[in-house]
Amino acid sequence: MTERVGVYVCHCGSNIAGTVDVVDVANWAAEKLGRQGVIIAREYKFMCSSLGQELIEKDIKELGLTRVVVAACSPHLHEKTFRTAAKNAGLNPYLVELASIREQVSWVHSDKVVATAKAKAVVSGAVSRVIENRPLEEIKVPINPNTLVVGGGIAGIQSALEIANAGFHVYLVEREPSIGGHMAQFDKTFPTLDCSACILTPRMVEAGTHPNITLLTWSEVTNVAGYVGNFHVTIKKKARFINEELCTGCGICQEKCPKKVIDDVYEAGLGYRKAVYTPFAQAVPNFPVMDKENCTYFIKGTCKACEKFCPTGAIDFNQQDEMLHIDVGNIVLATGYDLFDARRVSNYGYGRLPNVFTSLEFERLSNAAGPTSGNIVLRDGKTTPKSVGIIHCVGSRDKNFNNYCSVICCMQGLKFAHLVHERTGATVYNFYIDMRTAYKAYDEFYQRVLEEGTLFVRGKVAEVTDAARNEREKGKLIIQCEDTLAGKQRRIPVDMVILSSGLQPRKDAKEVGKLFGISCSMDGWFTEKHPKLDPVATMTEGIYIVGCAQGPKDIPSSVAQGAAASARVLDKILQKEVALEPIKASVDATLCSGCKICNGLCPFNAITFIEDDKVTSINPALCQGCGTCVAACPAGAISGTGFSNEQIIAQIDGLMLRNLEMA
């Protein structure tokens, strides 16, 4: 059947018509491409306007067009517009092709003759291609209303609560024994100085007791299969060696456990925990976890003190890791951040000079529930510092480490300054590159800290040393810095140095990204779909990223993102089904030789080999439509809708104007 093609050339005001002779292009298409099937070619000032669209709709109905080419802007802008117009006129939307003569022609070339010639070639390519287009239908898949939230920090908790409150089930998975994340380690939160635990723990309890939330702590996601609406997730629930049904969380086992272990996670290495422990008093859930590596019974085969004293017989040394299989429709990743390892900046002396602390160490030091009960003291555990230096941008905005700004460190440094000042009366110096106190009430906090008498030195610190040059420096830590406001080198002796370390992506962010089929930026943060207009969605439908997993951010932003992702998830759930682009690969079993060349090419596991028939098959639900297998098949047995060999070859011929000779 000969196709009846309509070509519509848009002026886009003067955006196209200023550089391309649109009338010439339309006349040329009508004349030269007539034998290809072009029965009408029009030009119009704004094709995307309702009048322009009506023009196309009218022609489809009255002239019986079977294919439409719109020569206008990039398909990323208006493909949907014109597809919808075609649909309204009863033409399958996938029989419309956009020829981009604005972004790819008129805006990037200046010579009108050359630009017009190129526009003709582009239109010719689109006409050849559109003839090979086949009607396609969007694929509708039902959405499983359950959601998986990975990471139980504040962003993940917020996200889980929003969805659960709307009446849908959430699986909240956390790798550590308790939810709460980094926020649970903090004493105060800037800029209002709310007690972190006071605002966080009610949320934790709410998440822990919510009837719509299944809380899986001490658990990790090990496998993800499926696609939006229908993910199949495998979760490893690590053995706690505690029977959760029987445990009341009384804490006697922790009291009786004779084995003390340095707590590197929650206490940042400043305090001890037992071998059987809950990380902190308000942990949710409050069942302890047995640390197999350090438990005397697991090491030596004797002890069992916890078992002896447990009033409910909840200790179970034979417990095994459990593999749980759940089905969910959407996944929210709230996997958080790792603190930059300050040891890497060796000239700041962390790990070598005892009284250099990291920000997380200071959080524990200043926390009333921390190892010093909130007393800010030096590493000896008793001396109160008389002077404290806080160094900003440690590992951030530094070409040797991370180029990016970690966002929270300025405000964190100011908060530390306030706390030191308030609790010890010490002289506090802040060493900063730029003071970045954007957002609501942040700069006011900076002003407040200034008024409290904290001293500010602008300049990047070169070195922290204990090598004194004079009496004044003896026994102190000396901060060597160029004061760029005063224009001189300074050596400032202090008792204590706090490194306002930056945030960095989780060590395993790349592997986690791969597990969920999303990508990481150059820095290692998960990549959002659009940095401005779609900041919580990812390129993989049904997977959302919130909190610091997406990039450094403070608590309010993390909470906002957690809630934002929930809105997106609820939107999906309430639609009940999701439409997928019908760009898919499929195998013609009669042509497939069973060579398996394509089998290893699919990163989405959409390709499987059917042993019985000795042919390969592609699961359209898993196929993302990249077309790599189509290009690889030596037998030409795999075809890809939307971007078939016929379409692409026709477009090449058309662009090279070979169609004019052939017709």
Binding site: E103, Q104, V108, D111, V114, S519, C626, I648, L655
Partner: protein
């Protein structure tokens, strides 16, 4: 064969997610670049069947530009590596066919790199211009005409003698 008036025709294959968006960005930013490249949008550089390149060259294109996401940034996780593999193999095949491998170029350009896309396009057009016309796809008669147009008139060859030189 350096003919300054020669305007090469180049077919460009772009990835929908990165380099096509880079070309959109170049457009939005009104960056000017050489008009010799005509783009074909694919969903991924991994979709590029090497025969598309050969088809373009046999259709009369003087060069082919393939663009994709930077390594590690592929929208489909790792398919650009497969494009890289095919590209390297294709270059070897081109040599065997008597085509300068420099006529086919792979460029990585992210969606943010409109400037890079424009600069690489212009640079590639100049590279192909230096190589001169390919004339690969034209039939023998036309080819001779082209040859005699570009070379001095003392170079006379008959279609029959051409056939003899080509091993069967």
């Amino acid at each position: 064969m350096t003919d300054n008036t020669f305007e090469p025709t180049i077919i460009g294959f772009t990835c929908n997610w990165c380099s096509y968006r880079a070309s959109d960005l170049a457009g939005t930013a009104r960056m000017k670049y050489a008009p010799n490249v005509r783009l074909i949008r694919l969903m991924c550089s991994g979709r590029l069947d090497p025969t598309f390149v050969l088809r373009a060259l046999s259709d009369g294109a003087d060069g082919v530009m393939i663009t994709g996401c930077h390594p590690g940034e592929c929208h489909y996780i790792e398919q650009n590596y497969k494009a890289l593999r095919r590209y390297l193999l294709l270059k070897r095949v081109l040599v065997g066919m008597g085509i300068e491998p420099e006529r086919v170029k792979l460029v990585w350009a992210s969606a943010a790199e409109g400037a890079k896309f424009a600069a690489e396009t212009t640079a590639f057009v100049e590279e192909v211009r230096k190589l001169g016309p390919l004339c690969w796809g034209k039939d023998e008669g036309e080819r001779i005409k082209d040859e005699s147009k570009n070379k001095n008139s003392s170079f006379i060859t008959h279609p029959s003698s051409f056939e003899k030189e080509v091993p069967a």
